[in-house]
Structure formats: C-alpha cells, structure tokens
C-alpha cells in the first residue's frame, strides 16, 4: 500500500499531520461521545510491531512531549516509534501515564494500576488504548449512560474473560476512573468511565 521509508526503521507517521490528525480526532471524539459505536480511522500509517493501525493513529493524534505513555509488556517495541514521531516520554509506572497501550486479551491487565484521577481533578486520569481482535463475535455486553440513547449492545472479541467485569467495577467509581479506546485493525470503539456496563451472568 505505501512504501517503507528507507531512512527510518520505525515506519512512517502521518502523511499530512495537520489534516490527518484533525480527521482522526473527530472520529475519536465521535467514539468518546457515543460509547460503543465503531469508528473507522482510515489514514495510511506504518504501525509499529504488534500495534494496530487504529491504535497507532490514536497515539499519533493525541500524544506528545506533555503526555507520558506506558506500554504493556510485549508492546514495548512501540517505544522508539512514539519517541520519534510524538516526542512522548515512555514511563515504567502505569500510574504516571497519561496514555497507555495495552492488550485486552491479557489476564495481567489491571485497570486499578493506572491513574483514575482525583475527586478535584478527575480529568487527570489515564486514557487506555486497548487492543482487541475485532468488534464482533465476542461476549455481548449492554452499555448505557451519556452518549447512548437507551442501551447499546456491543460484542468485541479477543478480550480476557475478566475484562468487562473489571471495566464495570472501574466505571462504578465514576467520576473517577480511566477512559478506554478499544482498537482492532483500522477501527476503534470508546468506553469512557461514564458508561454503565451490564455483563450477562454465565448460565450454569
């Protein structure tokens, strides 16, 4: 699709940083405003190893030298890419991160390890970019709250069995909590802390 740059082993960032980041931002804003809707980030990008194009575009759009990033084990190959393209400091401690890149299939993912803000400044919380496999085929969960007319059922696949109960427990602490941007391929879906999550109990 696009040729690999011969100069950098890192892969290319935005072709047109100004307008591509504006287009991506509007789609991220739409995702965050209407939790559970799927948005296609169609910009051409060379993503680092083990990171989806959509997750890469989210980070290119929002991250810079002011926003420390934490990378889950296995995704640390993204560190040079983020330093080069965004100037972002990569940190070792999840609670110090403004953004985190994590794998939703991992049983190790612990939302409690991140910054959930404080009651005077709930905005000082981590935004997590969470890899999943696809936005269909997984366990259905029902969402309600701001941005949702009535309820919305979503079923992303490739998430650990403990993922949704953990998100539901985190969001029960509203207005504290973390905001999630799920990514798969070129698509994203946001689950902000304001979303109430109903996980069906397993029969038998």
């Amino acid at each position: 699709m696009q040729s690999i740059s011969s100069r950098s082993p890192l892969g290319k960032g935005f072709g047109d940083p100004v307008l591509a980041s504006q287009r991506c931002f509007r789609l991220i804003l739409a995702a965050m405003s209407e939790p559970g809707t799927v948005q296609l980030l169609g910009e051409a990008v060379e993503a680092p190893a083990h990171v989806s194009p959509a997750a890469t575009l989210v980070l290119l759009t929002l991250v810079d030298h002011e926003t420390p990033v934490w990378l889950a084990p296995g995704l640390d190959a993204a560190a040079p890419y983020l330093r080069f393209h965004c100037g972002a400091p990569v940190v070792d401690v999840p609670s110090a991160a403004a953004f985190a890149l994590v794998d939703g299939s991992s049983g190790e993912l612990d939302l409690g390890a991140f910054n959930s803000g404080d009651d005077r400044y709930p905005d000082r919380s981590t935004t997590l970019v969470v890899a999943c496999a696809a936005f269909e085929g997984g366990q259905g969960v029902t969402l309600s709250g701001p941005g949702i007319q009535g309820t919305r059922t979503v079923s992303p696949s490739g998430l650990d069995g403990g993922f949704w109960p953990m998100v539901a427990a985190s969001n029960a602490r509203y207005p504290l909590g973390v905001d999630l941007i799920l990514s798969a391929g070129e698509r994203i879906m946001a689950i902000p802390r304001s979303t109430r999550i109903s996980v069906p109990t397993e029969a038998g």
């Binding site: 940083p17 980041s21 509007r26 965050m32 405003s33 701001p146 941005g147």
Partner: protein, 307 residues
C-alpha cells in the same frame, strides 16, 4: 446531509497554520475535550491561548472550534440568536480565512455551530456539534469566590448552598429570579452553568442528539455534554422549573414556540416581540407564516429585503 452552502468556499490564508492554532495547542485542547466528554459537566482546565480577537469575543469557543474544525465542515456562528451581528460575522470570517471552511446561516446545513447566548430553535441533529462561548464557567462563583472552594464543592457534590440560594429567590419573589445561566445538573453528578443562554433554552440541552462543547477562554475551562445525556435544570418539587412564556406570538412569523426579543418600534412606546433566532424566523416566513406586523413599516425595518 445535503448542503446548501450560503457562502462560496473561501480560499484559505496559507500564512497561518490550518485553523490558526499550532498543532501542539490543538492536541492539548483535543485531550481536554475528550476528558470533558468522558466526565459530562465537569470543568477541565486547559492552557488557553491568546487569539487574534478581543477578549469577550469568545476566545474559549473559538479555540474549541479551531481544535475541532476540518476543511469539510460547514460553520454557523450566532450571537444573541442572530447570524449578522459584528461578533458573529467576525468569527465566521476568521474561520473562513484560516480554515477555508464553508459558512452558512442555515442551522440544518451546519456541522459546527458556534454560539453566544442562544441555542437554535430548530432541533439539532446527530453529528452536529454546538460550541458555546462561555464568559463565566463556574456556576457556584456567585456563592463562593475561591476557586479552591468551588472545586471542593464539585468534588464532593456539595450543592446544598446552590439550592439554598435558589430557594431564597422563591421566598422573596415567589419564583427563581435567575433567567440566564440557569444552573443545570448534568448526568446526575455535576452542576454546570449553561453559559448566558436564556433558561428558555435549557430544555434543549437535555437528551440532545448533538454534541455540546463549552469553552471559557479567560477562565481556561472546557466542558461538555455528550449526545443523549440527562440535563436537569435545578428546581424543587413544589416549585418545578418553568421556561419564559410570552402573551403574544412573534410579530413577524407568528411563532408561538420560540424565544422572543422585545423591539422598540418608535418614540411613542410602541413595541413588538420577534424571534431572537433570525434564521428560524426567516424560515417560517419563507414557509408562508405571517405575523401581525409583517409588511408594516415596523416589520419591514427588521426583515432586510423581504416584502
């Protein structure tokens, strides 16, 4: 959405970065906007920048619009409900120049509507973004001058003093005297100032299909109401919230459902009531609705080139 663009697509002034703000500032505003959407009604601090328009001209709203707008957007700007005031025209020209975007006066054709003082009468649609210029974002400021204290009150949901103040009004006047910036409770959690819109417009914020973004430049705050969010005007069981009502319909378009401005028509105390939302009023007249003064001298003074 079908676009009937009122103005031709202007050339963008290449001397400026797209939409004027530099990319680092846009990212900072964009991050604040996402947090504002994630915590509806909570005021997110942001590093407000100087803008090439005088303060009081809505620099907070302009920065929000600049961080959001793209070349494919169609922008509408209103001030007191009108598209043709100096303030609205200046902001529209600014974005036509620095972003090369199409501008319109038609509410339904706009993808972004920047506003001071009003919410359009026509219901907003999914996908539209309403950007408010906010002079004073803190609904508790009249009760408590200290920012540290108001932040604590929001943190703990300590809104008792606000209800006491509203109830004191009822005790004195028989009703809540506040008619502008009437406070609302957003998503059952944060008390928020809707900026100086008339309380008539408050119900339009509740469960709106559009995304509502608020920017306060001087006070360096951004807040938001996502679509389909509960927005409740503060009230009491024995004194429920009520919007303003008028005894007569619009003198130009006969609307009985819109917010009316009082206009003095002569030196002898003559007056008429007309829609504050000029585009809404024009649309009704185009559709054949006629108010009692349409076609008279008094009516002609307000209807530009129409018969």
């Amino acid at each position: 959405m079908q676009k009937t663009v009122t103005s031709p697509l202007p050339p963008r002034d290449e001397a400026y970065n797209f939409a004027y703000l530099d990319e680092a500032t846009k990212r900072m505003v964009r991050r604040a906007l996402l947090k504002a959407v994630a915590v509806p009604g909570y005021q997110v601090p942001f590093g407000s920048r100087e803008m090439p328009l005088a303060r009081g001209w809505g620099t907070g709203g302009i920065q929000v619009t600049a961080a959001v707008i793209g070349p494919d957007d169609t922008l509408k700007v209103i001030d007191q409900g009108a598209d043709d005031t100096t303030n609205a025209v200046s902001i529209r020209r600014f974005f036509a120049r620095v972003a090369g975007v199409a501008t319109t006066e038609a509410t339904a054709d706009a993808t972004i509507i920047q506003t001071r003082h009003r919410i359009p009468e026509a219901p907003l649609e999914a996908g539209q973004i309403l950007v408010y210029q906010v002079p004073q974002p803190e609904p508790l400021r009249k009760l408590e001058s200290s920012e540290a204290e108001t932040r604590k009150m929001h943190a703990w949901g300590d809104y008792g003093p606000m209800y006491v103040r509203l109830y004191e009004d009822i005790a004195r006047f028989g009703h809540v005297a506040t008619t502008y910036s009437y406070p609302v409770l957003v998503n059952g959690r944060y008390v928020m100032s809707p900026s100086p819109i008339p309380k008539f417009d408050n119900p339009k914020m509740h469960m709106s299909a559009a995304l509502q973004l608020f920017g306060a430049g001087r006070e360096k705050r951004i807040y938001a109401i996502p679509p389909w969010t509960e927005v409740k005007s503060l009230d009491f069981e024995d004194h429920p919230f009520e919007v303003q009502k008028w005894d007569e319909p619009c003198a130009l378009c006969d609307a009985a459902d819109s917010y009316l401005d009082e206009v003095i028509t002569d030196d002898l105390g003559g007056r008429m009531f007309v829609c504050s939302d000029t585009h809404y009023c024009e649309g009704r007249r185009d559709a054949g609705h006629r108010g009692r003064l349409l076609g008279t001298d008094a009516g002609r003074a307000l209807t530009r080139n129409e018969e």
